[in-house]
């Protein structure tokens, strides 16, 4: 069965489903930030920015696969 993607329409303009997933992943990542600080996420990696970027990509991929 084909996986259908949600489409957003603003004033007749179709917004690509990827934009919605990317936005939702940003919102989830922003919500996770206090928790990441609590568990000292940035001290567990030698390059925290890349680790955070990877986490963001992981969330984005999960959203695309699950929804």
């Amino acid at each position: 069965m084909m996986h259908s993607f949600p489409e957003l329409t603003i004033g007749g303009v179709l917004v690509a489903p990827f934009v919605i997933y990317a936005g939702a992943a940003i919102a989830i990542f922003a919500g996770l930030r206090p928790f990441l600080h609590l568990v000292a996420f940035d001290r567990a990696f030698s390059n925290p920015p890349v680790a955070e970027l990877s986490l963001y990509v992981l969330i984005l991929a999960l959203l695309i696969v699950l929804f």
Partner: protein, 658 residues
């Protein structure tokens, strides 16, 4: 003892450090990724994605991310404003331009009340209307798609610059910021040590220290966006900056006391400040606390002890907060660092932007040139950006030079280097020399050259307008370049002629506002801010005053001396009010009524009498009440002392009538 230190010379290429080249290559790579993605997505304004990278070409990750977030928010606001303004005046270009000028003026006014990237986002909300709606003034039905295209291109540019900054390890704000805070802390300690040796406090030196501290505010706010520990680091950096301002204030208070007060304590305090490990400092702090609890027969000794204790406490707070910043810990103290912005200056800037847009609209429409709407929108963009600059005239001068260089580079790139090619790799190679050279030059310490180099890439990309396929139309290039340079020259002329704001005028506004706020404070006006927060805001005003360049050095010194006197007196008045409020809560308002009225009258005799009354009634109170009465009595004597010491002190009308 000879101190041997090995100094490692940084590796340079063509006179620029490797970090500058790495920054330039990151920017070029981000720009090409953005352009490629925008072409691939077939966005109409693909060049906006590359311009976004040029605008976000800042050296640290935190600054880039903060500016990116504000750029998205401001673009959304600006695009909505474009729809509203275009919808309100659909058949009337004159009224539409009037509405745009009003919106831009309002945004410039709001931007004038903010700092750093927040101020940028306010003016961007204004000039987005210029880029989205004014350029489509003859075809308003296209405004919606122009807005959507611009928003999409900006998002692509932001995604590209974020990806490249993350993957190629752009430097963090917090490492540079903690280095700067440590350097300022060292200078504040040197300043305090000189005062303890009996030297007087130079107003220019004090003001420059305050300026250095408060100038870090935009970097402090950028910490939030940088990492998951950004909030904690931001709170720590704020706490450090506020403590450093309070340390300068305490050192200045010590400077106003006679140089022969408690010589042995002066020596001990000097040794404690020089002790970086803090053991001596903690021991002395404990001793001073005990001395303050017992009290002194001589009021000057008591005042010296109190300010010495403040100095030590703030020195320790600053040190701890800097360590918290480095470790990414949340500091124990939660404090804000409010900034001062002159409402008059902001209103004048807003009015100037409004008038400048109207005047240029009239001139461009009289000219009857093609691409006039582009020229007008560029005037709107540059006047809005100039308003955010501490020196708008210098910005306008730099914009003229940057625009001319950008036009030349765009012509050379389009017609000599690329000359009709349509492959993306060749476009990327063709753009490399201009983009990399400008990014490298933007890192030099010379502010004029750095500003021109920062402005040139966005202007270059606007004139070149990379598109898929590229037009290679010499006529379009000539008109674009002509309009761009004309708009920069027009901005320069307008800034010199329409409501010019001289440094002398700004100086007068800053001093007037300081006097007026002092008057309000003496009259009993309560602020919701903590004392140290209000002190930071006052320090920000002095920092801005110190940044102005008046004609004569003596005049500058006198202005700074007056501003610092008000700074010290306001700190004393706020402290008296706090301790009186504490005493009133413990022992009732009857005890402190005389003190409040003496404070409102600026009456040093009355203040001393109220202090003596409090000291005599203290033994009747409980233990905590006695401590509160002793603290209030000492603060009243200090307020009387600062009023006596100030040549402006006995004239209370000065605070309210000027």
């Amino acid at each position: 003892m000879a101190l041997v230190q090995s100094v490692r010379r940084p590796v340079t290429i063509a006179g620029f450090p490797l970090s500058a080249w790495a920054f330039a290559l990151r920017m070029w790579a981000a720009m090409m990724v953005a352009l490629y993605a925008a072409f691939w997505l077939q966005l109409e304004s693909a060049s906006s994605a590359a311009v976004t990278v040029g605008v976000l070409a800042l050296q640290t990750r935190g600054q880039v991310y903060q500016k990116a977030v504000y750029r998205v928010l401001a673009t959304v606001v600006g695009v909505v404003a474009s729809f509203v303004i275009a919808g309100l005046f659909p058949q009337s270009p004159g009224l539409f331009l009037f509405g745009f000028a009003g919106w831009l003026g309002l945004c410039v006014y709001v931007g004038g009340l903010l700092d750093g990237n927040r101020a940028y986002s306010a003016v961007l909300s204004g000039y987005t209307v210029a880029l989205v709606a004014v350029t489509q003034i003859d075809s308003p039905q296209n405004i919606f798609s122009a807005g959507i295209n611009r928003g999409a291109a900006i998002l692509v540019g932001i995604a590209a610059v974020t990806l490249i900054s993350e993957l190629f390890a752009a430097p963090n704000v917090h490492t540079g910021l903690s280095g700067k805070l440590m350097a300022v802390h060292r200078r504040v300690r040197v300043f305090a040590l000189a005062i303890l040796r009996g030297e007087s406090a130079d107003p220019v030196q004090s003001a420059n220290l305050l300026r250095e501290i408060t100038a870090l505010h935009p970097n402090i706010t950028a910490l939030v966006a940088e990492s998951s520990g950004g909030w904690a680091r931001c709170a720590a950096a704020r706490s450090a900056a506020v403590a450093l301002v309070a340390e300068v204030s305490a050192a200045s208070a010590l400077a106003s006391l006679p140089a022969n007060t408690l010589p042995s304590l002066r020596r001990a305090l000097g040794e404690a400040l020089a002790d970086t490990l803090g053991e001596e400092s903690r021991a002395l702090q404990l001793r001073l606390q005990q001395l303050a609890d017992v009290g002194y027969a001589e009021s000057r000794d008591a005042l010296f002890t109190r300010h010495a204790l403040d100095l030590l406490i703030e020195n320790r707070r600053a040190q701890d907060a800097i360590e918290d910043l480095q470790a990414g810990r949340r500091p124990p103290r939660r404090i804000q660092a409010p900034i001062y912005r002159s409402r008059r200056a902001a209103a004048r800037n807003g009015l100037r932007a409004f008038l400048a847009v109207l005047i240029s609209a009239i001139l461009f429409s009289l000219g009857g040139w093609p691409f006039a709407s582009l020229g007008l929108s560029l005037v709107g963009v540059t006047i809005a950006l100039s308003a955010n600059n501490p020196n708008p005239r210098a910005f306008a001068g730099n914009a003229v030079i940057a625009m001319a260089i950008a036009a030349l580079l765009a012509g050379v790139t389009e017609f000599l280097i690329l000359d009709g090619v349509d492959q993306f790799p060749l476009l990327a190679i063709g753009l490399a020399p201009s983009v990399i050279a400008a990014a490298v030059l933007s890192t030099v310490p010379n502010p004029r050259l750095a500003s021109i180099a920062f402005l040139a890439p966005p202007f270059f990309l606007v004139i070149l307008s990379p598109a898929n396929p590229q037009g290679y139309n010499p006529e379009t290039y000539l008109f674009y370049s002509f309009m761009a340079i004309t708009s920069a020259i027009l901005l320069y002329v307008l800034l010199w002629t329409v409501l010019p704001t001289s440094d002398a005028l700004r100086r007068r506004w800053y001093l007037t506002s300081a006097r007026a706020e002092m008057g309000g404070l003496l009259a009993g006006g309560r602020s919701r801010r903590l004392n140290d927060e209000a002190l930071f805001r006052d320090a920000d005003r002095i920092g801005q005053l110190a940044a102005l360049q008046p004609a004569a050095a003596d005049e500058r010194r006198d202005d700074l001396r007056e501003a610092l006197e008000i700074f010290g007196r306001a700190a004393a008045a706020r402290r008296v009010r706090t301790t009186l409020a504490e005493l009133s809560a413990r022992a009732g308002g009857r005890l402190v009524a005389n003190a409040y009225s003496a404070l409102a009258d600026c009456d040093p005799v009355g203040l001393r009498r109220a202090a003596a009354d409090l000291a005599s009634t203290a033994p009747q109170l409980d233990h905590d009440g006695q401590a509160a009465a002793r603290a209030a009595s000492l603060d009243l004597i200090w307020a009387a002392f600062t009023t006596d010491a100030s040549p402006l002190g006995l004239d209370q009308h000065r605070w309210t009538t000027s």
